[in-house]
Symmetry: C2
Subunit: 236 residues, 2 copies
DNA sequence: CATAAAACATGATAAAAATCATGTATAAGG
DNA sequence: CCTTATACATGATTTTTATCATGTTTTATG
């Protein structure tokens, strides 16, 4: 079972230099620190569910979370992968709507919760944070638009290669320098790529046959990153 | 040729109650009014090009604009359709990057340009506007995520029906109450749906045969909206 | 540790969609 | 108005991808 340090203060948080909050004024950080509620979620648990109302935002201290949508036919589409330092739940909060996606923990994860009213009031009084927030939203929007274009125009083989590279960018490698530092089921990878599970399994086998990856259960090792990049056919 | 009223002031602009700027403080509106530059663009002209640096944001007074991405193989993907009251160019500006999409005018369009420095400074000093901006970004992000899910999970037939409904939501009908109030080529519709042009042509013919639409060159009439909604298979 | 359930794997088949080919209509330009 | 280019249309074919079927492996659980 994963061990976490005791929940400390926002002022000494590991993520204080990487999260959006790093640009917030000290006085507001102090206030957030007082009102935040930290919790540890176990693998498979849910931070929030699509369709319910947001009461605040979540700040990941350490761990991994997936954000996923249910399609009209109930099929999961993974929208984003999150790690320590990432904030989530702000989209629905800002739009004033229900959550349009569910946040599910991929491995034991430590999360701080910041109440809605506080978050909004800080945002309204701290132009620096507001600006960071707009940047964050802009970046997410950009990523979504690129993904949209790839989804519309690229074959599954390229999208799978791209997804593997994306997983690596997000969670990095384990100590050995080749194993992706997350365990995702084939179905989850498929739901990230936007394809059928069988197609993903088949293509992963091909990638293995081609020597690009090595598969050991849910462990995926990237053996030839350059070839994967070529397979992904990325221009930008 | 389309006729436009003389460019008036922001204070008397038709869009002053619908655009994001409606929540900005009067003093800032006045400043924007002084520095804005209004222009009329003709069909096919470009407001800005993917890859170039943003110098400000564009506010559509009247007209229609498409925002499109080029895929890695050079194929257009239409990301958004814009109309009077919409603002564009803020995404790249906020991220501090080059434009990731091009804005091309679909019909003669009147646009006001607001310089980067002014926009940023107003945004930093007017929490109300900043908040509206975050809402706008959140809404766009939401739309992009839904589109992404549909692109991944829905067949082209459903996506085309959805796209026709989307065009209707965006630009509405002409005076007759059935003709979509925009002229898009089949290729543009395909680039909105995310499919091959031939597939779009074929399916539009089917929709016509089924009595859902009527086609007269680039004029598209929606005859049975309910059936279209059913065909789009929308749950949410 | 046995047993059930879930996840993985792979072949066969069907369905969906893209591409190619060709012809027609429509719009643009001299 | 004629010519040329472009857009539209539709059939034939191929490619891609999903689905179905079935077996194997792994994982969870009493």
């Amino acid at each position: 079972m994963t061990h976490f340090h005791d929940a400390t203060t926002c002022q000494s948080c590991n993520q204080r230099f990487t999260s959006v909050f790093c640009k917030a004024k000290q006085e507001f950080i102090a206030e957030i620190n007082e009102q935040k509620v930290c919790n540890v979620y176990k693998k498979g648990q849910t931070l929030f569910n699509e369709g319910s109302y947001p009461f605040g935002v979540y700040c990941i201290n350490e761990g991994k979370v997936k954000l996923s949508h249910l399609g009209d036919d109930g099929k999961e589409q993974i929208i984003r992968l999150l790690r320590g330092g990432d904030v989530l739940g702000y989209r629905a909060l800002l739009s004033g709507e229900r959550y349009s996606a569910s946040a599910i923990v991929l491995e034991d994860t430590q999360v701080c919760f910041i109440p809605k009213e506080l978050f909004i009031s800080v945002l309204k009084n701290d132009a620096g944070l507001a600006f960071e927030m707009m940047k964050l939203l802009s970046d997410e929007l950009h990523k979504a638009e690129v993904k949209l274009t790839h989804l519309a125009q690229k074959p599954i083989r390229e999208r799978l290669a791209e997804t593997l590279l994306f997983i690596k960018e997000t969670y990095g490698y384990e100590a050995d320098g080749v194993t992706l530092n997350v365990r995702l089921s084939r179905e989850e990878i498929a739901n990230l790529v936007g394809t059928a599970t069988e197609s993903t399994i088949r293509l992963l086998s091909e990638f293995k046959k081609d020597g690009m990856v090595e598969l050991e259960g849910k462990k995926i090792k990237i053996l030839r990153q350059k070839e994967l990049i070529r397979t992904a056919n990325l221009q930008d």
